[in-house]
């Protein structure tokens, strides 16, 4: 997209899509960039569906991952820096007339800072609307159909299925193995941290020795296709409503 094309696009009042992910451990078999890859995949497909109604901005490839830094290769931004990046992305584009921004987020650890950034923007950029969604959270039905373990989530059934669909060559399938799958396997404080309504941030090595929550060996690329499809369909519908 050239500068002039960006100028024309802004005049059409599109939603700017910003993919956000993480560069953090994803167990023995999946790449560090798993969350970013999934977020970019959904973003690209939604953009294909919606044409001029959206514009794709730059990805935020590294997220807020201090809980994973016990595992090699994990990178993290402080919440302050993540917020500054997103705020300056939004501010730069608002200067050119863009008003609506949607972060397609592949990493749960970014949810809190997406919330704080949106709150602070209410004060500094009252004309801007910033929304954010989680890739997996948009596909509740397809995820439910997987029949996930009692304990699941990070590089578990859903994330692995998605990767087998969107980037199968980046998954070392022969290294897939279950992580913590039941509450009984956890030490008490880790178990407590999984209690709904009780929020307790713990370093990830206290939850699982291999970095995995759930059993990624049970899923297929077809499971992943269903999740991605539902995520894309749901999101495209929401964006259309927003612009209506």
């Amino acid at each position: 997209m050239t500068s002039a094309e960006a100028g024309s696009a802004a005049a059409g009042d599109p939603v700017v899509l910003l993919a956000a992910g993480a560069l953090e451990q994803h167990g023995p078999a999946m790449p560090l960039g798993t969350d970013t890859i999934r977020a970019e995949a959904v973003t690209a497909r939604v953009a294909d569906d919606l044409g001029d109604a959206v514009v794709v901005g730059p990805t935020i490839p590294v997220g807020v991952s201090p809980h994973h830094r016990g595992f090699p290769g994990t990178m993290t931004l402080s919440t302050t820096t993540f917020a500054a990046v997103l705020t300056e992305y939004v501010g730069s584009l608002a200067h050119h007339g863009f008003r609506r921004f949607l972060v397609v987020n592949g990493h749960g650890g970014n949810n809190a800072v997406l919330g704080t950034t949106a709150q602070d923007l209410l004060g500094t950029h009252p004309d801007v609307e910033l929304a954010w969604v989680g890739v997996s959270a948009l596909a509740k039905d397809a995820v439910a159909r997987l029949g996930v373990s009692e304990v699941h989530g990070h590089c578990g059934e859903s994330e692995t299925a998605q990767m087998l669909h969107v980037a199968p060559d980046l998954v070392r399938s022969e290294l897939l193995e279950p992580g913590t799958t039941t509450l009984a396997q956890m030490e008490p404080v880790a178990r407590l941290s999984r209690t709904p309504g009780f929020n307790l941030a713990l370093a990830w090595e206290r939850l699982t020795p291999n970095g995995v929550l759930g059993d990624p060996t049970r899923v297929s690329a077809e499971d992943g296709r269903r999740i991605i499809d539902e995520s894309v369909t749901t999101l495209a519908r929401l964006v259309r409503e927003w612009r209506a």
Copy 2:
């Protein structure tokens, strides 16, 4: 508590309870400090139950409320400042040997910054455990029993009931009136912002003309007593598990 008593308390490895709330509009009938009052009430009762197992630290009376600033009297901290206050409270007490901190939160707008603060503390204070809970979220059964409106929440059924129980003299009961109670009453973008999984921060006046979500006229002090009781009982149990 004197300095020497604080030193003795730290040696017992208690959980430090910190109430957090807001000072923001709560409709025509309820005080600006509603969220702080409820958080302090639950904190005080949990402290009574648990004795030496907990210590009560200073309240954070003003929260993150930029979405309410269209209504008179609303005060707000930026998310950066809220995080700095909480981090320095935790850091000060960690210097004296306290290790576990629990924020009893009366205001949903603080959830995001509680999350970012906890994440940043994982890097800077790896020996500290910071947890947080929401007063209403701890009382799922009692709230469900209220039979809330389709749209409810801020100064609606649950919060009003709690106030009628813990601070009835601060509620102008004759001014209680319904706010927005159905999705159909909302403009489309406001309705969109209530879609589960689609997070969109909006100024509150776009959701409700009088600041209220739900129908506060339908509830009684007895409803509030049930909510507070369940909240206190649940929280006391969780704290005991944490220290076990």
Copy 3:
């Protein structure tokens, strides 16, 4: 106070009173919150006297106390964070039309940051007037009448007398004992730091082994009543002049 009541109050152009204190060691007999308790007591009484001429805002319960952190239980804000809190309190209320703010300060360690905050507000909020007073400094006559020790101040004669009056149940009277009362008891650098005109910040344990400056055993609740009365009377008069 409800939101609508805050809106009405702002229209009357009142002075917003903000109590500020500390949560720091106050010797063997007095509570950590001594400074906050005294500041809130004076604030409440001034508010009673002045009615609609003032509005009471939220207290700042933790102050700037790095010099006391050698003693258990002491909490401190950095000067940056204290300034941010006060600035955002003032900014929030200025948004709703309040223009005059008065910090009733119970802790000398807050004086510097009150000064820097007021200076920075001259640039960012030129329409705001921020004033601050010290509880004890308002009662010069009553304090002089106590006949204080050569060295006195923190949890000494004046502060103890005030607490015996406003919160006698929080003073462990049987534990009251003199601290450093003469310059001769001090090591040279500590003595130097007490030279008028020579400002030298030292950790408190270099000034006094038990945290006390002065002899708190010599005073009564009646002494405290006289101090508080003079403080309240003086402050109420100054506020009236300000609004005239």
Copy 4:
């Protein structure tokens, strides 16, 4: 790359390559991401050449571009935020044992902040070595051979040639047109800003009406191939020396 693979890589003490660019106007014919695309192309080719001697980290796709914000679509980070991102990337990886970092920079506007970040890291991370290079500056011979205009640079001969080689489908060749090509075309203060040794930051619209410095119509993909080849060869040699 999985977490375990990152751990193995760190043990080999490789140089971490970080591409940095910009998302800013590049005249009527070239995409906003021109600088990032060129930086990533050189990075990828160097990585191919050097194998295990290097690891490729995440790209910084948006740079410091306030001088281009008069043109639509330009995004910019403040220098503070750019520095924070780079510092946290380096800090995250240094935590896992990586010691040498090389930013392959496609945007001259990033040079200053690369310098300040490297200086501050000398104090905070004395064991880290951070180097940075400019894509075009590494290919002095091939650029000289182009016979550039008196005034050239941003989206001029060299950058356009590179894009015709690495991403020809993203160049709207039919829209290529000369920008400012001689000092005589410039207003005096703009001309002054081009004086060697006199550094004066000006908004870009004061230098050129169409955003271009130089004549991009004169170059070919083959010119670009020579520049990229020299850049890659030079850089690969320097990295080998560094690790020797």
Copy 5:
């Protein structure tokens, strides 16, 4: 002083003298740099007296002067930036073994930030001792002997006398004129701001039309000599005590 000489000096554990002043309006007759000039004069004379017992560090020529920015030429640092400069001066020299620092301050507007900086250093540099003094405050007897106006201070009797002694060629003596000299000349809120114990920061133009408090026409260079002599003598004595 060379690097090696600085190394030798540090081994002698001297007091590092840092002059601080302001660059702000000083009425119709005195230079913007009045406060810096007086601080440097006292610093130089104390250094002459004390020899190896002290080392002179760099001056901080611009201070905290937002209250004077209504008058041309006034420069100001925010309190945050002033604190950062002083903290980094102290930190740099502490790295080389210097432990004691004394700010010789010519500008009352710097007092608050000197206080906050010293407090924050207690936490970050516990081995450092930072003291500060005011040039005029060190010469109480000589100032008292002047017989100052009811209202006096900024570019009034004392400051003018000092300048007539240390930099007579920089004073436009023919332009010296009285400013506000009595409380009765002030508007009520300005008068209120002069009440002992009531701290209220006001823009300077609310206190005096010509920027002057007091009557600078009444004093002589001889008056100034007495002030400077007393200031120097007092300060030299205090530094000797500190090092004893």
Copy 6:
């Protein structure tokens, strides 16, 4: 200069000259303040030449010197603090109508932060023009004529010659001695850091044991006079062009 004189000066739209230097090791023979002294000397002479066309503002005596902190006496500002000081100097004077600022810089380590500050000012102060020049870089011919060593720079031929001219009494001539003068004397990574186009920040002790690059024993005060003369003449011409 008085306040009124500053007001008049601003009306003439002059260039504000700000000298910047460093307080860092300059080998065995030259003072820590070498860079500041040279910058102030050139500034003063340019000001003499240009009269009302320029105004001299306060010097920034301490620069960005983390690479020299291995040598005693070196002081450094973080790049953030240096930028804040310069930004607030510019902002203060822009408030009074000054528009053009020129930093006369004696220390190469300040170049990066001068660049970032100028970039950020483009966004915050679009009406301001900030330029900067290096003292030695303005005198290319005279420096070339010196016939410098293969490796030269910091306290080498050019800087020493300048000091012998402008401040001969501050040079311990008997202690002048060569430092590193050839690439062959350097360890490989140090040599690599001298490769044109390869930017690598290293602590100075890795480049030279005595802190010197080049041979300062080979130059005379007359060499220095030629450098300073050319620097002053060039700069005066550039300033005249700027104001034309």
